[in-house]
Chain length 153, copies 2
């Protein structure tokens, strides 16, 4: 299954890249992870316009994909429930696309175009944290499906 992760941000710190690589390199051959980083706009536009511009850039990378937007107002789920969703997607969907907003979150254009809006936590998390949590949770979900001991009940 192809999994695309689109995120907005400028030069994520090396620890983010290290952790993302640490998990993506551990997936088995059933998964192909593609990471797309879109630079956030550094100019002084109003926040709403910035989010809209970011949304336009994101949409260029989306082509009839099954889209999951990460947003704190979305639905929460447990790691076990995520693994059940992943199992279902693996059977029915060729390509998943996860979208993580920048410092200001995602524009409604993306939220409305999404097949699922997922909240990692009720807490407002820095987007770099969201990125490493997403990759770790996808890896964890895959280990749950394979009965690998990484996830201990």
């Amino acid at each position: 299954m192809k999994i695309k992760i689109i995120s907005i941000g400028n030069n994520p710190p090396s620890w983010v890249q290290d952790i993302v690589l640490q998990y993506t390199s551990r997936f088995n051959d059933n998964f192909k992870i593609e990471l797309i980083e879109i630079k956030s706009d550094k100019n002084s536009k109003p926040m709403k316009q910035k989010k809209l511009d970011e949304a336009q850039k994101i949409l260029k990378f989306i082509d009839n994909d099954f889209i999951i937007a990460l947003d704190e107002n979305g639905s929460p789920c447990s790691s076990k429930a995520l693994s059940e969703k992943l199992s279902n997607w693996m059977q029915n969907i060729p390509k998943l696309t996860f979208v993580i907003g920048g410092a200001n979150g995602l524009d409604n254009t993306i939220i409305k175009n999404s097949n699922w809006v997922w909240s990692l936590s009720m807490l407002t998390l820095p987007h770099n944290f969201a990125k490493v949590i997403l990759v770790e949770q996808l890896y964890r979900a895959s280990t749950i499906l394979n009965s690998h001991p990484y996830h201990r009940e």
Copy 2:
């Protein structure tokens, strides 16, 4: 206010220490953060016994403190709600102690002795992730109380 963070683990990776330092160094003088790391037991004891032994070690560092245990079965809260709790604690409690379990979570001895059991997320998170999220959320809560722009609504 004194805030003690007790965590179980062996030699956390440098990115954990870097992020913890990055946030703890940004608190204003109203907060004094103390970090206590307890080594986890590496021997082959059953998981239940390991957790009990870790709980005994944790209890040695707790002395009539107001205890908040981090556990995925606890109550969730938003960053804004956490800032309201922090404001209340600052007025009523001289010393807060947060406890983060090891790879197997916290023993019930700690959960039962806690004043609040807090779930950062419905997801099962690695304990290193929990530690950096906790420190970031405490910093975020302090900025919400000070109307600092770190937390954008």
